[in-house]
């Protein structure tokens, strides 16, 4: 993740027909008539991919390069000298540690509440047939689709009425509720793929359904749990709009809001510090994403949870 410049792209694209990757699907023992066309296709798509890589890498490179540039501007450029001053300057309690701590509290709280409540709800939905089940699941699916951030204005006035404004638990509960539909839906799908026969054995042995859930089902759906936990945590960590609306005092604001306030105040002169803080703020979720990928096979597990 740290070598985000374009250098690794170039040598790879120079060998469009080489390397042993072509045997993935079509058998290697079948270099059919279509072979020359395929290698042009390969060359073409490699070229396009290099272009895509460049356009994606440039804004990212701006963050990386500016963070070590003593005279960073809005334009990407190789720094004339490398400095750690930007990082040193932002690594203070008010600037970085407190906002990041607030982000951690909010995201972890949201993720834990969502997953615990979500697992509890997913279990009966996955294992039993209940009268209101179809209706409930359709409602969940419907809620999954709603553009929740679009209703932050009424949420604000509701929170004023409930005196929940500027309260961290209030932010956590709202974020948990808004990520719950997706979490229940995914957790139910993951749970459906755990065979019920194992629990039946436990039931026969006298275990209660909650015990069976905790001892048998959850351990078997660990990758699914990790995916949902990561997804909810990342969403909460990156959420700007909700805490921006619902918190007012600086000491309760998470990093997303702090960085916005900072940029609003000093942005035009302090791009280097902005970039340094952006990195400190982004690295945790990037690392978390990598960890979850290792743990669960990544994109396919995500897609598995979203089937239907």
């Amino acid at each position: 993740m740290t070598t985000l410049d374009t250098t690794p792209v170039a040598p790879a694209s120079r060998a469009p027909s080489g390397s042993g990757t072509r045997s993935r699907h079509r058998g290697a023992g079948m270099p059919t008539v279509a072979s020359p066309r395929r290698s042009t296709g390969r060359l073409l798509s490699s070229l396009v991919l290099v272009l895509v890589a460049v356009s994606f890498v440039v804004p990212l490179a701006w963050i990386l390069l500016s963070s070590v540039d003593p005279a960073a501007t809005v334009s990407v450029g190789v720094p004339s000298s490398i400095t750690a001053d930007n990082f040193k300057a932002v690594l203070t309690k008010d600037q970085t540690f407190l906002p990041l701590w607030n982000s951690l509290v909010i995201s972890l709280g949201t993720a834990l509440i969502t997953v615990v409540v979500g697992v509890l709800a997913a279990y009966p939905l996955s294992r039993y047939r209940m009268r209101f089940q179809r209706g409930f699941l359709y409602t969940i699916l419907f809620a999954t689709c709603l553009p929740i951030t679009a209703i932050m204005v009424p949420v604000y006035s509701l929170f004023v009425k409930l005196s929940l404004l500027d309260s961290t638990p209030g932010v956590i509960l709202f974020l948990a509720a808004s990520s719950l539909p997706m979490a229940i839906w995914m957790l139910k799908n993951f749970m459906d793929s755990v065979p019920v026969s194992l629990e039946e054995a436990a039931w026969v042995d006298g275990a209660s359904s909650m015990r069976a859930l905790g001892r048998i089902v959850l351990p078997l759906m660990r990758p699914g749990l990790a995916v949902v936990l990561m997804l909810v945590f990342t969403q909460a960590w990156g959420n700007f709009f909700v805490p921006f609306i619902l918190t007012t005092s600086a000491e309760k604001q998470p990093a997303a809001v702090a960085i916005y306030q900072f940029f609003g105040t000093y942005g035009s002169i302090a791009y280097g510090k902005l970039a340094a803080f952006s990195i400190l703020y982004s690295v945790p979720v990037l690392v978390l994403y990598l960890l979850t990928q290792r743990l669960s096979g990544g994109a396919n597990a995500l897609a598995g949870g979203m089937k239907g």
Partner: protein, 309 residues
């Protein structure tokens, strides 16, 4: 829990014994309670509140904040005759259509296909970069793209190499800038969905068509696309709804401006409520937005009929 242990439930599809049926149904649905409470208070609550709030003249501060009056459908009639609202609705349609339906989906699909053909090292570099743009916090992405498009930013510096003069992208073409930014930010999602979908298409089908003489594009459009159409429509719907709710990206890059040149509905709702202190009016805009989302969701559920058991 006692009933659970006496009569071991054998899972789905089995009819419970008549006597204890009601009690059992109650015990079984107990774990749903926390979810129902949370969703009821913090999700259904705001939506119902929005319906009510949009019929008041609530202000942000002062007298109208403390003692709002019920004004019926006044906000909605004002909305319907408000040029800013219709302009914003149109901007939202353009933004969603070009950045989600066209941009993210087409680029996501193209990437998914090309990543399968391209040499592996290149493929993994590209997919990593695209995914990083999506995993990083939205506000950081927004700052990076703001810098990219700003007048002294990278895009103009790059165009300068070809002798092109500076364009004030965020002021002259605010909507185009945020559309491109949203494609940059969100394509990873479509790419991952389509990669997963493509990997489930059996290679034999493609090979059979190849033996029958179908060309590459024919095989893709006649065989692969129809086979993954469910993923396509699901993804179209999800990206549409995600994009409908985009706020941060636009807010940081253009602030909805200049004027209201890039105020999509969520941005307009925010501006009305917090800039012009018209909380009631802003709530009406929010209600309309959520209604649009609701209509899309219903269409999605009706058309795709996702399995819910």
């Amino acid at each position: 829990m006692a009933t659970e242990t006496l009569v071991a439930p054998t899972g789905r599809g089995q009819r419970p014994r008549p006597g204890s049926r009601r009690l059992r149904a109650l015990t079984r649905s107990t774990p749903l309670v926390p979810a129902v409470v949370l969703l009821g208070v913090f999700l259904l609550g705001p939506i119902l509140w929005a319906l009510y709030g949009s019929m008041t003249n609530t202000g942000l501060t002062g007298y109208r904040a403390a003692k709002p009056e019920f004004v019926g459908l006044d906000n909605y009639t004002a909305l319907l005759s408000d040029g800013d609202f219709w302009k914003s609705a149109w901007l939202t349609v353009v933004f969603v259509f070009l950045s989600a339906v066209v941009g993210q989906n087409v680029l996501g699909m193209a990437l998914a296909v090309m990543l399968r053909i391209a040499p592996k090292p290149l493929a993994s570099v590209v997919s990593t970069l695209v995914v990083v743009a999506w995993v990083m916090p939205e506000i950081v992405a927004a700052f990076a793209l703001y810098a990219f498009f700003s007048t002294d930013g990278t895009l103009n510096a790059f165009l300068g190499w070809f002798g092109l003069g500076k364009t004030t992208w965020l002021i002259t073409f605010p909507l185009l800038s945020v559309i491109l930014a949203n494609i940059w930010r969100g394509t990873a999602f479509s790419m991952m969905v389509y990669r997963a979908a493509l990997s489930e298409v059996p290679a034999e089908v493609d090979e059979a068509a190849q033996i029958d003489g179908a060309a590459g594009w024919q095989r893709f459009s006649r065989i692969t696309l129809p086979m993954i159409r469910r993923s396509i429509s699901t993804n179209l719907m999800l990206t549409t709804l995600q994009t409908l709710a985009v706020f941060t990206l636009i807010w940081v890059m253009t602030g909805g401006g200049p004027g209201t040149q890039s105020s999509t509905l969520p941005v307009l709702a925010y501006q009305e409520a917090f800039k012009f202190s018209q909380v009631g009016y802003g709530t009406a805009i929010a209600t309309v937005t959520i209604l649009v989302g609701a209509v899309f969701s219903v269409i999605y559920i009706k058309v795709l009929k996702p399995e819910v058991d």
